[in-house]
Amino acid sequence: MRPLPFTRLLIANRGEIAVRIIRACRELGIRTVAIHSEADAGAMHAREADEAVAVDGSSPVESYLNIPRIVGAAIGSGCQAVHPGYGFLSENPRFAKAVEEAGLAFIGPSAETMRRLSDKTQARALARANEVPVVPGFDGSLKKKDFAREAGRLGYPVLIKAAAGGGGRGMRLITSPAELEPALESARREAEGAFSDDRVFLEKYLESARHVEFQILGDGRGRALHLFERDCSLQRRHQKLVEESPSPALSAAQRERMGEAAVRLAEAAAYRNAGTVEFLLDTGTGEFHFLEVNARLQVEHPVTELLTGVDLVAAQIRIAAGDSIPFETADLRPRGHVLECRVYAEDPAAGFVPSAGPILRLVHPEGPGVRVDAGYAAGDEVSGHFDAMLAKVIVWAGDREAALRRMDRALAEMVVLGVTTNLDFLRALLAEPDFREGRAGTDFIARRMGGWAGSGAEVPDEVLVAAALAEVCSSSSPSAASGNAGNPGDLHDPWEHSDGFRMGT
């Protein structure tokens, strides 16, 4: 392999993706510099990197959005490249430009490409110009009566979306003409506040749709290829929860057509580095429609890595170093079936309210075909300042049924004590017959799991037995109780020295 021009790389992110990038850099012999807010000084990514630089911000989140300080940290620590991860500044053209102007390599597309593709109406126009079908919609005007007319023409329900938007923000679903005007105003206000751009457009809402996206790599010189698809249909409030590949809904012919469309679009944009082209697949008609391009690495990239054996982060770094992509889609050998579940610190039985606190115990599942990408270790604090995703559990198996069994085993073996997680909810979801038979669309969780109240209310006697014995044993032997959170004797007997409660009676 050609030696890389980078000896030091700064990661402008945190959590599991920062750890992922650190691992890729270790394998490539690149030293890593992490940034962190004050609240995150002890976080896993800051500990794992070779160096860590504190970055100010008016809030913990703001630190990871502080462009001048982050670029300054990269230069000051002698880095030649910056990896933005996902979220935060990863799709911010001003950041990409600032990195480039500082003479550093940005591990991602050019600022210009990012700007063009992050504007949804421009991206749709590019798709149409390259014979890539788009979700039927309207983005031609700002006049309310034009919107009303077009919404009627498209047929309700209709989605109002922010042109500069992302992450499900600035979106409104309207089911009747009466809802249009207030929804338009509300969406515009939210878009202005979130993206400083109040432009909105309409899209027909496809009811029985599946979210199927294609991973692409581009060399920035007009050549791009795809690494097959990921089906991300299990979502809650537009946030992906479970992803898989191959998509149970695609025929080989559909896969080929959609892959070609994704590549056509990427090449038309002269796309550089990793990206994802998202489509909606109408399961009723079998037609696919372009949704948007995510001009960055995605959370669910491990699905493609396990399917194809390609290390996408390493590929990103090599492309940024100027290497050409050393393979074609035809060279790839996708094998078996991959599933990924996102484990969150939240309580699905209580309206998915986030759960914060110290992680007292964390045990990852292991064994054949199991991979865990985690951003928290035992002893770390889930603060509530950031996204509540604790880890991604990804499994590979020979076929979909085996992958489902393996994922159930992995989720059952995962131990997280101290915060509530959605592990039980994920297992219940994966046990649903419609999902097991590959029929779940993007509205599945909302429709079917809305009132989920937990997987069974009774506490077995042996759990109480274990609790009581643990307390009794630890009060006489503190080391027995100290789990990997490292707090000796954290199982203390609160009654031993108070209230006159006598021991041994």
Partner: protein, 166 residues
């Protein structure tokens, strides 16, 4: 020796007595013969009857967490003496579960609320979180205000459970 715990709206009374080489443990009167085989680093291996079972246990000041057979259980310690003193008529504090912004305070002191009624609306991590009444109560004190940034564990509202509530 006795322990009391609360979990999933149920109360448990656990008594332990040494027996043979192990313990006789009763859970709400149901007896179990148990032996501790090993307890290291928060991993507890028990012989329950004639079956070996493994549990992961951890705790913080208020709660005990137990992982068993693919499920995680959260137990609250129910202190019998404190309970006896405060069982009826005590004010219950409702706390913020994480740092958040108080979006709106829906109630005022003296309001009667039903189980599930929204008392305060918080915003954290781009989500709206509703703090609701765990049982029918009267609002005793409001301890936060709109626009305030609250910390984890900070008391938002104190409620006085209604006399005949369950």
């Amino acid at each position: 020796m006795e322990r009391r715990y609360r979990a999933e709206n149920a109360e448990f009374r656990v008594s332990l007595a040494p027996e043979g080489g192990g313990h006789l443990v009763e859970v709400n009167g149901r007896p179990h013969a148990v032996r501790v085989m090993r307890f290291e680093n928060g991993v507890l291996d028990l012989l329950v009857g004639d079956r070996r079972r493994r549990f992961h246990v951890a705790s913080d000041a208020k709660r005990l967490f137990v992982f068993s057979e693919g499920r995680c259980y959260r137990l609250e310690r129910a202190d019998p003496i404190r309970r006896a003193a405060g069982a009826r008529g005590a004010d219950k504090p409702l706390e913020a579960q994480m740092p958040a912004l108080v979006r709106s305070v829906v109630v005022q002191e003296g309001d009667r609320v039903e189980r599930g009624a929204t008392l305060v609306v918080l915003e954290a991590m781009k989500m709206e979180i509703r703090v609701t009444a765990p049982q029918a109560s009267v609002v005793a004190r409001v301890r936060c205000r709109e626009g305030e940034q609250v910390e984890r564990g900070q008391v938002l509202v104190e409620i006085h459970p209604a006399e005949d509530s369950r």
